[in-house]
Structure formats: structure tokens, C-alpha cells
Amino acid sequence: MLDWIAGIGAANIAKVRSFGRATLMLFGAVIAKPQLVKNVPLTIKQIYVVGVQSLLIIVVSGLFIGMVMALQGYTILVGYGAEGSLGPMVALSLLRELGPVVTALLFAGRAGSALTAEIGLMKATEQLSSLEMMAIDPLRRIIAPRLWAGMISMPMLTLIFSAVGILGGHLVGVDWLGVDSGSYWSIMQSTVEWNKDVMNGIIKSLVFAFVIVWIATYKGYDSVPTSEGISKATTQTVVLSSLAVLGLDFVLTALMFGIE
């Protein structure tokens, strides 16, 4: 009985400790002694790995999500004779919710898991320790460029996702189902506001990017350096960051759009 209670306490203490380690890692990577000039080429390389290589899946899923939304929205809106509102429906749901959230989920699956596996394998093959032996701080050399690359790539991926989705909605709604092209764009233009809708979507995606790359790099950095430990860390990255994104999305939506 006493062991059981002690076990609960130990588990909680371990949670808090890992949170503290994650925060220390973040501070070590981002705040302590920034080396901007040296890190720029590394960051660009990571933007290539994290952003450019995620581009295909983002564009394809954005296109299809826009097309599906136009198709579904049309079948419902046409019953009220309101198919002109298809444009704002597609645009607002993409810009406010689906763009940031789906991009973040795809990003967590495509790039977050890869980050964890890469850093975990670096740890397992003792590349991180050898960097330390050469007096190079792995936090700054390995973690920091990946953090920044994720933070830079995610908003851009979200913008591309939303834009492609709106074009996909246009493809299905206007070119296939015959909604008037003028009303698709003009009602969209009168409904969508730059500050309220587009900027809030970008802010959301920045928050999501931060959470995802933080979890991904921490899980890799803190993983047990065995093949089993790396696979566990990768799974945890995807599960944790997806849950964090969905939970945070509710909080952010309530803050941004909840009460007018």
C-alpha cells in the first residue's frame, strides 16, 4: 500500500522533472548565447528538411480538404439556396481552424517524428557526446537550428495549406458544381478579415510549431539510447504533440473567436 502511494509520488516527481529538463533544454538551445551568423546555414538546411520536404503532403492534403469541404458544404447550403456562401465557409474554416490544425497534425507526423528519430539516433550512436567532447554544445549546434526551422516553416506551410485549400474549394465549387465565381470570391472578401482571421491563424500555427518542435526535440534528446527507446520516443512525440495541438487549439479558439 505504502509502495503504491510512493509510486504515485515518484511518477509525478518524474513528470515534473522531465518538464524541468525540457524547459532547461529549451533555454539552453534558444536563449543562452545566440550565435546567429553561425547558425543561419544550419537553420536553412533544417528548413529544407522540415519545411520543403513536408511541402508535398501539405499541398496535396490542403487541396483535397478544400475540395471535400466545398463538396460537403455545397450539398448542405444548396438546400437553403445559399450556395453563394460557399466561399466564406471554405475560407473561414480553413483560415481559422483547419489550416493551422491539420498542418500541425501533418507536421507532427511528417517532421516531428523524423526530428525525434534523428536526434534519438544521434544520441544512441553517441554523436551528441562526441560533439560535447569537441567542446561544441549540442543544444546550440543540433537543437537550436531545428527549433527555429520548425518555427519558421510552420506558418509558411499553414499559409500554403489555406491558399491551396481555397483554390481546391474553387475547383470543386465553381468549376464543377457551378457556384458563381464572382460570388465565391466577393462574399469571401467581404467576410474574411486580415487581422481577425488570417493573422489569428498565423498566430495559432506559430504556437503549434513551438509546441511540436519543442516536444519532438525534447523527446529525441531525452530518449533512452536504444532502438526500443527511440521507437517509443517517436511514438510519444506524435501522440503528445497531436494531443497538445488539439487541446491548445480549443484554448486559442476560445480566446480569439469565443466572445466578440
Binding site: K45, A82, A163, Q189
Partner: protein
Amino acid sequence: MKSRKAELLVGVFVLLAIAAGLMLALKVANQTMSGKGETYVLKAKFDNIGGLKVRSAVKVGGVTVGRVDSITLSSNDFTPIVSMSIAKKYDKFPETSSVSILTSGLLGEQYIGLQPGFSMDGIKDLADGDFVEDTKSALVLEDLIGQFLFSKK
């Protein structure tokens, strides 16, 4: 060579993102048309504004000339005061103009219709901060149904 390819593709990626942002700004949010440009303020008192919202359009004959800036309740007589910002290039509305709250379509959003009045000698143009005296309130469907039901007797 490898790093040059990466840099090139990152450049393409950034350009794509800028293009997407520009498309969202110009084509979706219509940033250039909204807000910017010289405006002046007209005010109007209504009995009931119905579903009018801030940023609703102000139209003259279907042409959008401005937007609703703010909706407040007058503390004296508890009637809503709507202030609208109208584009400066439309600044020749006579004092006899009237505003009414209209609905676009059966279930559409509500907007303010501005009906320019007649102008002749001795009637000035509406200036910044003026009240439009002649107003018609929003058509509230519930009131209409109520009137219809009770007029049957």
C-alpha cells in the same frame, strides 16, 4: 552542391509561402479595399438595429460606400446610435438623406441602405459627425408575425 540545392529549394519554399500570403491578402481578405483611404463619420439613431453588426456595409443603390464603425446605446433615451465611416469621395449627401437597415436576401446579413435625399438651395450637405435624421429601423421578423397574428381579430 548539396547545400546549394537545399538553399535553392528553401528559396522556392519561401517564395511559395509569400505567394500564398499575398493571395490570402489580396484575393481572400481583400486587404487593399477595406479600411484604407480617407473616410468621414456619419451617425444615425435607430429604434431597433436588428442584427446589424460592426463592419456591416453601408450601401447606396447597392454600391458599398462605407462600413459601420461602432454601435452604442445612447445614455439619454436608450436608443442605439450607429456611427458609419463613409469614403471621403462620397461626401455630397444632402441633409435630407435617409438611412434604413435592410437585409440582403431572405436570410442574408443586414446592411445599411443610404437613400440620398433631394438637394436644393438652403439644404446643406452632411458633414463629418452629423446625424442622419430620417431613419427606418430593421425589419424584425418576430414583430411582423406578431402584428399579422393580432390583426386577424
